[in-house]
């Protein structure tokens, strides 16, 4: 199997994993929207924007999960995934400067993870998104080139 074939399959796999992550966390947040908002109201820096974030983040996660399955928008969705996960990670690192007793405001069982495990999980998915950007871009460029020749 050529590298291109493997990359294509891996891009699909990364899309699948990111979709599961985003849909899972978005739905978990929406199921317990009140709790999620309540926690955000007590988090450093983000408290004034708790209502906006409590609706905006799950919405954004669902949009990204959807866009990952449209070839045309896949690269953009990988970029958005990378940025969103990056922002979460930066926020966690900033919060850890305050205290490691603050609970996670994330969805579902992921909230049971410790902060360090959470950073590790985010970095892993950021790597998937980064590889997705590189390989889906390559595929899109090759297909565009084939269509024009």
């Amino acid at each position: 199997m050529s590298n291109q074939g493997i990359h294509q399959k891996l891009v699909t796999l990364f899309s699948l994993l990111l979709t599961v992550l985003f849909v899972y966390t978005a739905v978990s947040k929406l199921i317990e929207l009140d709790t999620f908002q309540w926690r955000l109201e007590r988090m450093p820096y983000v408290a004034p924007y708790a209502t906006l974030i409590s609706w905006g983040v799950p919405f954004l996660e669902l949009v990204i999960a959807g866009l990952l399955w449209f070839r045309r928008y896949r690269t953009m969705a990988f970029y958005a995934s990378f940025i969103l996960l990056g922002l979460f990670t930066i926020y966690i690192i900033i919060v850890l400067r305050y205290s490691d007793s603050i609970p996670c405001s994330c969805g579902g069982v992921i909230s049971a993870l410790g902060w360090k495990d959470h950073i590790l999980l985010n970095i892993t998915f950021m790597v998937f998104a980064l590889l997705g950007i590189l390989w889906s871009k390559k595929q899109y460029n090759m297909q565009s080139h084939q269509n024009t020749t």
Partner: protein
């Protein structure tokens, strides 16, 4: 056929699985709060880990300030294992 499977069934399966998992692993809402005293601003409230309680080796702190169970220095100074 194979392309159709990847284009439609795979994302549908992923979404269904994620939604199912989200409902299946619905956690108990934890609403444990703790309080700390900030000179000049008074008592502040934050949410804390479930681990923070009356006993443990390590102090539960927020920005280096000891957390209490109530807005009172006489209440339990929270600790964790």
């Amino acid at each position: 056929m194979k392309t159709k499977f990847f284009k439609l069934l795979l994302p549908a399966f992923a979404i269904l699985m994620a939604v199912g998992l989200a409902f299946a692993t619905e956690d108990e809402p934890v609403a444990q709060v703790a309080h700390y005293f900030l000179p000049g601003q008074g008592w502040q409230t934050v949410t804390v880990e479930d681990d923070c309680g009356a006993s443990g080796n390590e102090a539960c702190e927020y920005n280096g300030i000891q957390l209490y169970s109530e807005r009172d220095f006489g209440s339990i100074a929270l600790r964790k294992p």
